[in-house]
């Protein structure tokens, strides 16, 4: 078996150099923290990564604000919506589904597992409540995130993930719309993923909304 062959070769190399056990894993430097400025740092980094954002008081306001945003972009009210957001008071005109996103999907509305102040990243925890395709297939991605779910740093997200008892199949950290610099090193947004990412920062407590 190749597995045994490869591991055998590795063991031989390690013993030839006599390094086994000679190097200890180092203490990691403390991750950056922002105290009271955590949410401000988060929104500042969102903007730095070409996201737009607005604050809402509670999730109930989400449909109305999403509709306004779509209207401002001249977009039709058709969208993929994360299951936890399906039951919000959407106007009747909205065509919505929560299956995987398709090839012509224009808009998706998602709920983030958390946010990272350090990098302005959204953490998306895949599963029945949060289809991964919603994050990548549409041209426009609207993401709700509770202010209280914003961690100082990645390590804060890892901690929250560990608390759920398992890694999701996919944990997607997203910092802004898709981009590329591959043609003449000119940054262009909307390479393969969303062209625009709009964040709705929910001030209310997650549990009470």
């Amino acid at each position: 078996m190749s597995r045994e062959a490869v591991l055998h070769n590795i063991r031989r190399a390690i013993s030839e150099r006599g390094v086994r056990g000679r190097f200890e894993l180092p203490q990691r430097p403390a991750a950056p923290t922002y105290g009271e400025g955590r949410v401000d740092r988060f929104t500042e980094r969102l903007v730095a990564h070409a996201c737009t954002w607005e604050a809402i008081d509670s999730l109930e306001q989400l449909p109305e604000r999403v509709m306004a945003w779509l209207e401002s972009k001249g977009l039709a009210p058709r969208m993929a919506v994360a299951p936890p957001l399906m039951a919000l008071p959407w106007p009747d005109v909205v065509e919505r589904h929560s299956d995987r996103a398709g090839i012509t999907e224009a808009v998706a509305v998602s709920l983030a597992f958390g946010g990272i102040a350090e990098s302005g990243s959204l953490a998306m925890y895949s599963g029945p409540q949060s289809p991964i395709t919603h994050n990548y297939a549409p041209e426009f991605h609207l993401v709700a995130v509770f202010a209280e779910d914003i961690s100082d740093n990645q390590e804060g997200i890892w901690e929250k993930v560990r608390a759920t008892g398992a890694m999701p199949r996919a944990l997607n950290l997203i910092a802004g719309p898709s981009r590329t610099g591959d043609v003449e090193q000119t940054i262009q947004l909307g390479a393969h993923g969303p062209r625009q990412v709009h964040v709705l920062l929910v001030r209310a407590k997650a549990s009470t909304s």
């Binding site: 078996m1 190749s2 597995r3 490869v6 591991l7 070769n9 590795i10 063991r11 031989r12 190399a13 390690i14 150099r17 390094v19 056990g21 000679r22 190097f23 894993l25 180092p26 203490q27 990691r28 430097p29 950056p32 730095a48 929560s98 299956d99 995987r100 398709g102 090839i103 990243s121 895949s126 599963g127 029945p128 289809p131 395709t133 990548y136 297939a137 990645q154 390590e155 890892w158 890694m167 199949r169 996919a170 944990l171 997607n172 950290l173 997203i174 910092a175 802004g176 898709s178 981009r179 590329t180 591959d182 043609v183 003449e184 090193q185 262009q188 390479a191 393969h192 993923g193 969303p194």
Partner: protein
């Protein structure tokens, strides 16, 4: 991938005479060097992160077997498959077999240097699969049938006009686009269908996490995510050295990677994948495979170049290398260019076949000073020269000169005499002009520059005649 034809010299000469490449290389400074410098300056404790990252790598490599076993067991517990490949041929076979079993027609690929290293595309295309590179840069060079010229910006040598030509030839029925935005949009549309048709998605793995059985990819375009999410089967190709212990270790590397690679504080998309689609999941691949490629790495682990296994493929070394900056990536002849390639390519493909690579370096040390995992690249390049000498590969003429010089330099009287003679002859040749425009036997110097002439008798002679006074 097969090595490119020609010698380093001939490929370098082509590169130096290629105006569009030279134009692209000029962009490196504002694009990579300056942006990295400011991204690094903005993060407190960057140096400490480099130290920590290097130490994590060294610790893992010193017990690599254990970490790989832990990682593999975790992946398998999540329903994923882990394959070990001793060499490139085995890795290709494993992936061909996965594609066969999946009845694949279309294979989408995220950027993966290991897949370039093992020459995967050629064999999959020969098998009749539609293989689509989805990173825009990789897509462009796939259309151009060229190898990457940079590990993170593979099509950096292509101008907008050249990309427009390629798209015009390959996207029939579409009007020619001239702007960057138009070209990016055209590629978006062309690739979108492929993503949704894809049967097998092959990506690299920037990091493998033992704690959680997770593979991590980092991209800006989102192509890797569409590739691995929409395909029925996801195959991760990765070198065996990419395993790290925990999620918290990942954070150390992520803080270094984007800053070192592109001067961003983070790339757009960092994706952690753990196993296949689970019950109730609306999307994601039904099968999840990891192919761990040795291909000479375990041998590297034993020898003088083990520190190369710290490499996280960020490209900072080449971005800061003045030789790479002069000739670009294709001159190096294979998958890995620049300083890291000057060490890796001889190790993978032979010291003799790649004699020039470690020699075409001024040992200026800039690569080493920016390496996020503190690989002593300059020292290793010199060590590689030593390996070449030990293998008897130094050209005979140079070897003879070196040993003659070495012998004379150990006879101070004789050395002095040669210096005296040389000084006198050069002064005669220069006359009062102060420099020499051409000199038999020194053509390689005087072809490019004048040779400043000695300004008088040797220092040691003058020092003696002045009785040791300045």
């Amino acid at each position: 991938m097969k090595a490119l034809p020609g010698t380093f010299d001939s490929r370098a000469a082509v590169a130096l005479a290629d105006p569009s490449l030279q134009k692209a290389l000029k962009n490196f400074k504002p694009l990579f060097v300056a942006k990295r410098a400011s991204a690094v300056a903005e993060l407190e404790g960057f140096e400490q992160l480099r130290e920590t990252a290097a130490a994590i790598k060294d610790a893992v490599l010193s017990e690599l077997d254990t970490w790989l076993e832990r990682y593999a067991a975790k992946v398998e517990s999540l329903g994923g498959h882990v394959h070990f490949a001793s060499d490139a041929a085995e890795a290709r076979e494993i992936i061909r077999e996965i594609c066969r079993k999946a009845n694949a027609k279309t294979i989408c690929k995220g950027k993966s240097m290991v897949s370039e290293e093992i020459g995967l595309n050629e064999v999959l295309e020969d098998d009749g699969y539609k293989v689509v590179e989805t990173d825009l840069g990789e897509y462009i060079i796939q259309l151009a049938k060229e190898p990457p010229s940079h590990i993170i910006a593979p099509a950096i040598h292509k101008t907008r006009e050249q990309v427009a030509d390629l798209f015009e030839q390959n996207h029939p029925g579409r009007p020619r686009e001239e702007t960057v935005a138009g070209l990016v949009n055209e590629a978006r549309h062309a690739l979108r269908e492929r993503f949704f048709q894809s049967d097998v998605g092959i990506t690299g793995g920037n990091f493998l996490i033992a704690e959680t059985g997770t593979s991590v990819i980092v991209t800006n375009e989102g192509n890797g995510d569409l590739t691995q999410t929409l395909s029925r089967v996801h195959v991760v190709t990765s070198g065996i050295e990419r395993v790290i212990p925990t999620l918290d270790d990942l954070s150390v590397f992520l803080r270094l990677l984007a800053r070192s690679a592109t001067g961003q504080d983070t790339e757009c998309y960092t994706t952690l994948s753990s196993g296949p689609k689970r019950p109730g999941d609306p999307d994601g691949p039904e099968e999840y495979h990891v192919v761990l490629v040795d291909n000479g790495r375990s041998k590297m682990l034993a020898g003088r170049f083990s520190q190369m296994l710290r490499c996280i493929r960020c490209g900072a070394c080449m971005n800061h290398c003045p030789v790479y900056g002069a000739v670009g990536g294709h001159a190096y002849g294979w998958v890995y260019p620049g300083p890291m390639g000057s060490i890796l390519t001889p190790l993978f493909n032979g010291l003799a076949e790649n004699y020039d690579l470690p020699n075409a370096c001024t040992l200026n040390g800039r690569c080493q000073s920016v390496c996020p995992v503190k690989i002593p690249l300059t020292d290793l390049i010199r060590t590689m020269r030593n390996e070449q000498v030990k293998a008897g590969l130094m050209p005979a003429s140079q070897r003879r000169m070196m040993s003659a010089w070495g012998w004379v330099a150990r006879q101070p009287g004789l050395y002095r005499a040669f210096e005296k003679l040389g000084s006198k002859m050069l002064r005669l040749r220069a006359g009062r002009s102060g420099s020499i425009a051409s000199l038999p036997g020194a053509g390689a110097w005087t072809r490019v520059r004048d040779l400043p002439a000695p300004s008088g008798p040797t220092f040691i002679d003058q020092w003696k005649s002045r009785g040791g006074q300045s």
